[in-house]
Symmetry: C2
Subunit: 911 residues, 2 copies
Amino acid sequence: MAKKKAAKKTTKRVYFFGNGKAEANAKMKQLLGGKGANLAEMTSLGVPVPPGFTISTQTCHDYNALGKKWPKGLKEEVAKNVAKLEKAMKAKFGDPKKPLLVSVRSGAAVSMPGMMDTVLNLGLNDDVVAGIIEKTGNARFAYDIYRRFIDMFGDVVMGCEHEHFEAAIHKAKVKAGVENDNELSADQLKAVVEDYKKIYKKDVGKMFPQDPMEQLTYSVNAVFGSWDAPRAIRYRQMENITGLLGTAVNVQAMVFGNMGDDCGTGVCFTRNPSTGKKEFYGEYLINAQGEDVVAGIRTPQDLKHLKKDMPKAYKELTALMTKLEKHYKDMQDMEFTIQEKVLYILQTRNGKRTAEAAITNAVDMVKERLIKPEEAVMRVTPEQIDRLLHPHFDAKATRNVIATGLPASPGAAVGQVVFDAEVAEAWAAKGKTIILVRIETSPEDIGGMDAAVGILTQRGGMTSHAAVVARGMGKCCVAGAGDVVINYKKKSFTVGKTTVKEGDFISLEGTEGQVILGKVPTVEPKLSGSFGLFLKMCDKIRTLGIRTNADTPGDSKRARDFGAEGIGLCRTEHMFFEGERIWPVREMILAADDYAALLTGLEDTEDKKEIAALNKKYAGAKKQFEGALKKLLPYQRKDFVGIFKAMAGLPVTVRLLDPPLHEFLPQEAGNQKEMAKRLKVTPAVVKEQVAALHEFNPMLGHRGCRLAITYPAIYRMQARAIMEAALQVKKTGKKVLPEIMIPLVGSVKELAIVKADVVDEIEQVFKEKKSKMPYMVGTMIEVPRAALTADEVATEAEFFSFGTNDLTQMTMGFSRDDAGKFLGEYVKQGIYAVDPFQALDQSGVGKLVEVGIALGRTTNPKLKIGICGEHGGEPSSVEFCHRVGMNYVSCSPFRVPIARLAAAQAAITNK
Amino acid sequence: MAKKKAAKKTTKRVYFFGNGKAEANAKMKQLLGGKGANLAEMTSLGVPVPPGFTISTQTCHDYNALGKKWPKGLKEEVAKNVAKLEKAMKAKFGDPKKPLLVSVRSGAAVSMPGMMDTVLNLGLNDDVVAGIIEKTGNARFAYDIYRRFIDMFGDVVMGCEHEHFEAAIHKAKVKAGVENDNELSADQLKAVVEDYKKIYKKDVGKMFPQDPMEQLTYSVNAVFGSWDAPRAIRYRQMENITGLLGTAVNVQAMVFGNMGDDCGTGVCFTRNPSTGKKEFYGEYLINAQGEDVVAGIRTPQDLKHLKKDMPKAYKELTALMTKLEKHYKDMQDMEFTIQEKVLYILQTRNGKRTAEAAITNAVDMVKERLIKPEEAVMRVTPEQIDRLLHPHFDAKATRNVIATGLPASPGAAVGQVVFDAEVAEAWAAKGKTIILVRIETSPEDIGGMDAAVGILTQRGGMTSHAAVVARGMGKCCVAGAGDVVINYKKKSFTVGKTTVKEGDFISLEGTEGQVILGKVPTVEPKLSGSFGLFLKMCDKIRTLGIRTNADTPGDSKRARDFGAEGIGLCRTEHMFFEGERIWPVREMILAADDYAALLTGLEDTEDKKEIAALNKKYAGAKKQFEGALKKLLPYQRKDFVGIFKAMAGLPVTVRLLDPPLHEFLPQEAGNQKEMAKRLKVTPAVVKEQVAALHEFNPMLGHRGCRLAITYPAIYRMQARAIMEAALQVKKTGKKVLPEIMIPLVGSVKELAIVKADVVDEIEQVFKEKKSKMPYMVGTMIEVPRAALTADEVATEAEFFSFGTNDLTQMTMGFSRDDAGKFLGEYVKQGIYAVDPFQALDQSGVGKLVEVGIALGRTTNPKLKIGICGEHGGEPSSVEFCHRVGMNYVSCSPFRVPIARLAAAQAAITNK
């Protein structure tokens, strides 16, 4: 379709904007990219935008589809729009007297900062430079923009090495004895221009092109080509950006912030993107181009100083900021340039912000009646909630602060110092926690930044590459910490007399900009202020229940504080591991085989003699096995009392023992000897039992309710512990809602047998304690067969809880412990969009979940259904759970707030 | 329902038959059991059956449901029928002058030989015995039946030890200096009766009951109770008998074969149950009761002698045999008794027969136009076909025949001698091959017989317990080998001077009745004669294709001989293991990690410098990996040439490499050293790679097409080998139909990527060889996700082959390597009716298969679909495959004939 359409002559590919009129509007984001649509919209709004035109994203797609060739008609359309622009600017390409200079920028429908190549000052050539000098008398300015243009054009468009240009200007500065670029004189810059041309010729193999139209053509191609560059592809993969045609190209008349001290350029936000506070926020540089601000080479000034420096421009800018925020109903991130005291807005877009700012903005804007609660809820991403739940430094801990930089991205990070992005990725892959330390960062460092937990730069401001990207990633970042002197070669940095080497630990405090020596202890976050208000807003909207996976009273309490409405998964296996209790567990396991032989034997006979013989033969094993369980009972009961108290009034789903028995035995010879000694058997006995319990595929082995089929006494003990605890807590006047969950069920008969034992034991407890209470017995749906026969399973189960971890393993045939070796490649090749253990595989595993729900509700329309895999706290999976009609999701305590938001967003998007 | 109905007074519980009239007929098998319905039918047919009545199976069920109590009204109904019987026989219970004696037998709807308890001569007491002596003057006969009755009633009904009675009569015989029971005089037997009464009193705790009605009540209860006896339950489990209410009780007037030399009793078959030959066949004993023939205590005479002994009875009997076979349209197994030259038929039923006989019968009866081909096909069980495919002894091998017995059940067996059923079960469980050797067998030995591969008895005839049960089980059996003298205590038997001890190997030849010392080599069976005709009959009826799983030319040829219509699964992994070729495989694996790093690196960059650097860095690994594949290519090609030749004209489905790479590396340290030496690396390198490739759950690990995602070169090499071989064989004028199968696919994208490589390589081969040929690329459906997304997968697959081994593992969450530890218990507790790795779990895994077929055919209605798991040769699974619309099943060569029959039966039952 797209190709055919592209082939038609009638396709409009280029859209003009300027002087208050535009051929496009804000709704055409898909076709013109965010920037292009915005420029059109701003122009129509009367914002002082330099005129220009936008080449559509469709054209980028066609260009790449045609094998890097311009589609028919594009050349003519571009020429027509250049002519229109020349008219609007009363200037001409290559005209020394009135030269048209333009910027060429990329801009896709989704913002990808730093990913796309940009060219400024296009249109300069020897004649034009001479003309500018003649006209303005400002030779320094003319040579400065010329050398910048050659560098940028050479580097970005033609693939020269930027370092070669850098080396040349460095040499010039050394020669001139100055520190900064802007200290070079006109003549010195002129010499630099000549050096640059030579470098260009050497690197490219031909002369620097003097024809502006040729410059433009190359630049447009470079923008198009950059769409498919590895780093762009990697960024899209990393951010899960799909379904875009390509990038648009924005060609816009240049305005200059570097024509003198009545010029400047800057970036501003309508609210503080770091804290969310409603205040004008930004930075600018006098006598500079926009790149200088963003690249972080010079450290810029706070926006408030502009009020004094250029009061008129400041007033105009703040008025525009207010106007644009009201128009877009969101915090705006604007680029501006002041040329000879005249303000131009280069672009505006919804600003990236920290998680804290996003939430504060959302809550404030609802208060200001700028947006509705539903809109506010959609403005905050679950990832942002996640970030806020990351730990902060313990306020009581001593901090050895060795340097302070800009608080570029809030949060706290502790990690090992690494000076190279690739090394950072490699170390992180090995499980190390990394702080990436760079003089300044560039798009090439994206992978390393992603791998790091925090970023520290020596240079750059609040809107430098490092700061913007780190905020986007939600990573802690301290930028422009000038005291930190980095030596890449030595792999170390020094602050005064302190030297920090690769691998040393440091801590970063992004909210205050601190660089701290060593590891600072962290504390857990709390929900308060805007955060609490925001989540309550979510709760009003969502219909899905949120429970938590918690195994201890402490976890339970924390989850309850985070808003959990019950426990969806209380695993009981840790109750077998902890401290002294592992010893009765091991006693039990040593007697397990003989105990099983006894049970099997008794099933097979009615002969009283045989029964007596069996009982005699296995009396020891019976005593040992059942005795060990008796020892475990009080431990378990105590655990449950704690959990039931912490969750009083809320339901608590307890999963009975799940792991295979061999997990409770020591694998290492030394530990086996210790166990043998303690249990008074020979080491050979322990070794033999370890060998006997070995499984080739333990995931699919003798575990879950399969243990209860072989050893009914284990679940009986657990059921007893649960109900004895429940009755005990009930006595104190607290409400207990126990839900007993049988894991790894594959067949209704299996569930029926296990459930009958559990219910029988509970009835015995009721009789003994002369007290009763309501409870439920349900099952996990984690074996595909259980989902496929859910109509049958539902005849015995009072609730279903989808165990999507194991369900994913079995449905996709991936062992979570092993798949890491190849799943990365699977995601890279697009076989699965994301790791299915992170986000539920909706089209595969999800189908089975849907089948299970539909079948289960056929039998029991009121069946309570939830999910308790890791997916329960993953936003896209939460959305799925809402959509397929689950009653609740259950996730780890720290993900409860995320799930609350995701559930609210699901309710809104599925209205 | 059943209980309610039972409570109603109107339920008829007892059905009378006699004198040519019966209250029931052959159709009432479920209610009256096979025997009861048959007795009624025979009576109506005019067969001389002793009169009697049958108590329904429903009554047995009610009795057990009521906690071993007679339901209301039963007592009255039994009394009424006893009265009727007394009238018919002109005799009375307990009347010394004209005593009514009856037999009490069990009889369920399905025949369970030896499982149910039987009581004969009921009605005898002191007075009656005195009366009989007075009337007949035959005191020996009277005391003989009396002592038999006390023994049987005591043992079977009241739980006395049979051995106590045996010891007493043995003592009497020793005292009298005779060898056989029938050599004891009347007085001696009278003394035995007195001894028996004492034994009875001692064992039971009260006097032997003199009231016939009391005897009858106890006996009926014993029959009912035996339904739930452990050995009965075990037999039903073993034979998969379910859905029955219970057993009926047949009370029938006694006739006597032991009243003198003009009396006799026997068993006869209308055709030879061993060979299937159409001839009268049977055995009888003069002056004996039926139990004597079946129990194998005396060795009986061949039926043909009866012609001379009692010509009238013989003529009558053979006429009845012909009549009954025509009536029932099947070979009949009849019990008869001749009392004072008058013939009585005690029962007739469809006869158990050997596999060979079943097939001969089926083919012959179609020829005789007695039955239609469809009926004939339904008469033979797949298990019987299986038996015929068991190996026979090599005719050329020397046999050290130490003894000859009766050829009780054909076949050949080699195993270790064991003298105890329980020991046999235990040894077999350890994987040993057992020959069970017993003086005679009894129902208590069933488990041991099932565990053994062959049975040898010292005593007993062709219809002894051992012979009947062995034929039913299809086990080789040599019975009544009198020269074999067994000593249970010493755990050995002797034949002349040869002593064979427990654990020694012997061989049994069941068709000739040979007992052979040591192990005789076996040869593989062929399809010929009736067998071939029968299978051709099946082929005409079936619609399902039958392919085979074969990996070598030899296997392929054998399968083709057995009727395979192509290869459904040719595994290629053995081609990596065999002989020298393992070495290039290992070379490849040692280079695998670096090779993968190279491929991943190349994916990530377009930078020419980076590409060059990568190629340089990993040049060695690339050379080693790709070089190893080049070495493997000719091996694989040669293998395929052989297979394609053997299967010329038939399709061959080749599955590309499936197992994880670690399977090709040695796990043991010594072998690792050898590998290191040979491949010129340090042992540490090998050990490290083994460790690196270790997986926690290899079933769900890096294998199948996942290898091809990481290492496309492996499948490319295989695709090349297949097509080069195919073109080479094509050149010789033979037709080759290659079908390339991609294993372990979980997603259509995965298949698309792997398939693209395979197709690309094949197109290269076509170009190089300047020749083309049609081929298909399809996939295994073995990961549940593939079945769930089969509509998508079918867009890339030209055929589906359900790999139900892995599909079962993943759908049910059972590791086949580990589940053995608990699956037995699962089957025992009825959670799954059978081991799901033997017979497809239709309600779980089967659902997924149905979903996969339905979805696949949505996309491609003509999609070719088969199955290639072990289930492809299992009859109930074959039926399922037919029912759900598969095109073919594929199974191991030896199961091909079974599949042909199963497919034909499926076509008939699903017509």
